[in-house]
């Protein structure tokens, strides 16, 4: 079972245990290190806990059988998340380099894995920071009462509300029109939206300030950005539980539907969520752990961070759904009140004659006695379940559903400010990891001259990212972002993670790895780690990858668009992607994935050319004087 692939000269490329001991005592002069353990843990927690915990997990939980979803989630957390996390921490701590450095040290042909990590971190960072820019826009607009998304604006000749807003809702209108000013399809680029350009500039400069000296500055920033979300979530939990209808939301979330466990999509969604939620294969975690002391207990860290991540997902799901329950109850009561008013007006019943309790009865009576009148009223059917399951994932959750709920709470601006600060901190702490995953490989690949200071490096990276991210603040920017999210942040990561596991277990050698961990933390990793690293986790990764690939390929190439002219308005319309989108998809998903074999082939060709020189050099070293000491030193 112990397969080991041939790997020459591994010892020359990695520091030996004695060198590590020396390094620990003397301290590496040019390598940064953490001020204390808390900084390291907070940074890793901040990187792992991101927007996905708040707006992806609750939706998955509710749509895949509520409480029953916890079972696949927890099982895959233990079998997939924790082993991969431990592996990344251990390898970073052992080889003391960023992602490109680590994989190149294990085998030069594996440089591609590090390059792929860098490309994925870069692409994901581009659109992730745009989401932060949107969050900042909403944050800036929260400092007014009433909130701008609580009412429709009045049209030009002051006779009524703007038609697009009246037909949908004030929150939809504010998101699609006043924020994004979205066009009707991805081909219609529209111009740059100057408001969002300013917010994007703000987002990238804040990121620059925090990352300018690497972990020296991010280490200080994470004290705020990693802890503030928990404070805000707790405040929202207390606020949420005191609101009417919140318990119906929580019940809706956690009501178990055990039959969902037989659906393979549930397991695969749980696996994918665990994987993406841990920010694995971005390279940031390897970097962070390489700044640790050699004897740091990475096993404990991996378990602690995984547990925190899982608990945060569940905690934030509870908070989100308590607020959603409140919103659904408010909407339901509004809907019923409107129907009751219409009935009372049509049939001249005194006030209070028709209430929520006798509504059905009275409606039936009236429908039987005067059906035409009742029909002409066009009463809408009010269903709590529909309201609870409305648009509760992704940007729709944060910018439409949650903002609507906030407008219904007393002292709305305060809750709005708190909510968007929380989202900002969650996003920013994840961006720290992304930035680390881009800049350290750039340094390792020697793309920039060595004497350039880190500030300049970070500045250039942020500037280039800002300029490219201007795609996302055009009128069609929302569609581009969805495209990036769907393809850049999914398949390449699965390939990278699979390669990582295979590289460490079979190229580096599980025996060597075990010895390293024993050297670092004092005891050999037990059977659980052996089983998961060697067999279980790679298998799960492969299954998830195959499933994802098959689904994505079979999926229709459509996207949802906001089109006021469409027949289904205000529901988003399904639009086909244009043909040139396949080139973009190839660039997003194909280029990082193909970087792995490409770099291997590139190195192979380069080494073949150099082979003669290599042999000549080794011969030179075996000389007489090299074997005998000349001086008494």
């Amino acid at each position: 079972m112990k397969l080991k692939l041939p790997n020459l000269d591994l010892d020359d490329r990695i520091p030996s245990h004695q060198q590590l001991e020396k390094l620990e005592v003397e301290g590496a002069a040019d390598r940064p290190k953490w001020d204390n353990k808390a900084q390291y843990l907070l940074t890793c927690v901040g990187f792992c806990v991101g927007l996905g915990n708040v707006w992806r997990f609750p939706y998955l939980c509710q749509s895949h059988g509520g409480g029953a979803f916890m079972i696949p989630f927890l099982i895959l957390l233990v079998l997939e998340g924790i082993p991969l996390l431990h592996l990344e921490f251990a390898i970073g701590q052992r080889l003391r380099k960023g992602s490109v450095g680590v994989w190149t040290a294990i085998h030069p042909y594996l440089t591609g894995v590090g390059v792929a990590s860098m490309l994925v971190s870069f692409l994901v960072g581009l659109y992730y920071n745009t989401i932060i820019a949107w969050v900042m826009w909403y944050f800036f607009n929260s400092f007014q009462d009433p909130l701008p998304w609580s009412h429709c604006p009045i049209n030009a000749n002051k006779t009524g509300l703007v038609s697009e807003c009246a037909r949908s809702s004030p929150v939809d209108y504010f998101w699609y029109r006043e924020t994004l000013n979205t066009s009707t399809n991805i081909e219609d680029a529209g111009g740059l939206q100057w408001r969002l350009v300013l917010c994007l500039l703000c987002a990238w400069t804040v990121l620059y300030v925090c990352c300018v000296r690497g972990i020296e500055t991010t280490g200080k920033a994470v004290y705020v950005t990693s802890t503030l979300p928990y404070v805000v979530l707790t405040i929202f939990l207390i606020r949420g539980l005191t609101l009417k209808g919140s318990l119906s939301g929580i019940k809706f979330l956690f009501t178990p539907n055990v039959t969902e466990l037989t659906n393979p999509a549930t397991w695969l969604d749980a696996g994918a969520q665990v994987f993406y939620s841990f920010s694995l294969a971005f390279g940031g975690l390897i970097s962070f752990s390489s700044y640790n002391s050699v004897y740091n207990n990475c096993e404990q860290d991996a378990v602690v961070i995984s547990v925190i991540n899982g608990c945060t997902s569940v905690f934030s799901a509870t908070v989100i759904y308590s607020i959603i329950g409140f919103r659904a109850t408010e909407k339901y009561e509004d809907c019923m009140a409107r129907n009751i008013l219409d009935l009372m007006n049509a049939f001249d019943r005194p006030e209070g004659n028709i209430t929520l309790n006798n509504y059905e009865q009275v409606l039936q009576n009236l429908a039987s006695t005067s059906p035409l009148v009742v029909k002409s009223l066009n009463l809408k059917s009010c269903d709590m379940q529909t309201f609870l399951s409305e648009g509760v994932e992704g940007t729709g959750l944060a910018f439409i559903v949650f903002t609507e709920a906030i407008t219904k709470m007393p002292i709305s601006p305060l809750w709005s400010i708190l909510f968007f600060i929380m989202l900002f901190c969650l996003g920013l702490s994840t961006m720290f990891g992304n930035t680390e995953g881009v800049i350290i490989p750039l340094q390792d690949l020697k793309i920039f001259p060595k004497n350039w200071p880190k500030e300049v490096l970070t500045g250039i990276t942020c500037l280039i990212s800002f300029l490219i991210a201007l795609i996302f603040v055009q009128r069609s920017g929302n569609y581009w972002l969805a495209l990036f999210d769907r393809f850049a942040g999914s398949i390449p990561l699965l390939i990278i993670a699979f390669c990582e596991m295979v590289a460490v277990v079979y190229l580096y050698g599980i025996d060597r790895f075990n010895k390293d961990i024993e050297f670092m933390i004092g005891h050999k990793p037990n059977m659980f780690w052996q089983a998961t690293w060697r067999v279980i986790s790679p298998l799960i990764m492969m299954l998830i990858f195959l499933f994802y690939f098959v689904t994505k390929v079979r999926e229709e190439a459509t996207y949802i668009a906001w089109d006021p002219e469409s027949a289904t308005f205000p529901t988003l319309a399904n639009v086909l992607y244009p043909n040139w989108v396949y080139i973009i998809i190839f660039l997003l998903a194909g280029v990082p994935s193909l970087a792995v074999p490409y770099m291997a082939v590139f190195r192979l060709i380069r080494d073949c050319g150099r082979k003669r020189d290599h042999d000549y050099k080794t011969k030179e070293l075996t000389t007489f004087s090299a074997k005998i000491q000349m001086s008494d030193k």
Partner: protein, 277 residues
């Protein structure tokens, strides 16, 4: 009362109906059909009463008819006319526990406020009696028309609308209600233009944040620059010290203990003339 003893039964029935109609103010009003009206006249002719009595009977019947038809005339004036307006009040929705009951005095107040609104608008001396109300329901909704104080003609719907729009706030506050809870069904409320501040508030917050960030960047870059300058100065000092020390050694019998000295080449120090060879 003596009429009931002398008259034929069918007529009596119509008259009792007439009498009961006279005594009620609210409730659905039923218009007498022309056929019913004709029947009243027919029975009057066939009874064969003395002439004086017949004349007083006629008078009574005419009075009755006006009493009956009068409201019905107004009624057709009220809801049938294009100049009538429907009003709907939702007192319980607006005031909850502090809701008052809708009674005669409230109706009087309503008529008075409308008369006030008409006076404000037209500058004519409208009285409470110029406001005719009908078709009141328990919803609390009713129709009303306004008649001109001098000519008794109906005031056009447009004028009434103008007057109501002008004094809408005053009318609403007289009843502690709002535009939504005191509805004039054909008169949509004028939407208040939203207050637009000179600078959008978001721009102010943006300016503050960018200012802080800019200050942060400047602080960090300046501190980096100062640190580098200090380091460079420190290195120069250390180098100068080392050169002085090296100058004091003459190379013979000196023990090179500090291995970190990079400017002393151990290969050239002749500390041992005899090698191991």
């Amino acid at each position: 009362m003596f009429l009931h003893d002398f008259l034929h039964l069918p007529v009596r029935l119509h008259l009792t109906a007439c009498y009961s109609l006279l005594s009620t103010r609210q409730g659905p009003q039923v218009a007498l059909t022309p056929a019913a009206q004709a029947r009243v006249f027919k029975y009057e002719g066939a009874s064969g009463l003395p002439r004086g009595l017949r004349m007083s009977l006629n008078l009574v019947i005419v009075l009755c008819l006006t009493a009956v038809l009068g409201p019905t005339l107004v009624h057709t004036l009220c809801s049938g006319s294009t100049d009538a307006n429907k009003v709907r009040l939702s007192i319980k929705t607006a005031l909850g526990d502090e809701a008052y009951d809708w009674d005669e005095s409230e109706m009087f107040l309503f008529k008075a406020t409308i008369a006030f609104a008409m006076r404000k608008c037209n500058k004519k001396q409208y009285e409470v009696s110029n406001i005719q109300v009908c078709n009141a329901t328990q919803r609390v909704s009713f129709w009303f028309v306004v008649t001109d104080p001098k000519t008794e003609d109906l005031v056009s719907g447009k004028d009434v609308e103008k007057a109501v729009r002008m004094s809408r706030n005053r009318i609403n506050s007289a009843f502690l209600l709002t535009d939504k809870t005191l509805e004039f069904v054909n008169i949509p409320p004028t939407l208040a233009a939203p207050v637009k501040p000179a600078t959008p508030p978001w721009l102010i917050v943006f300016g503050v944040v960018i200012g802080l960030v800019g200050a942060g960047i400047a602080a960090i870059l300046i501190s980096t620059f100062i640190q580098k300058k200090r380091e460079r100065g420190g290195i120069k000092e250390r180098e100068e010290d080392e050169e002085e020390e090296a100058g004091q050694r003459n190379g013979v019998f000196c023990t090179v203990q500090e291995g970190a000295d990079s400017n002393i080449n151990p290969g050239f120090i002749e500390d041992d003339p005899f090698t191991k060879l």
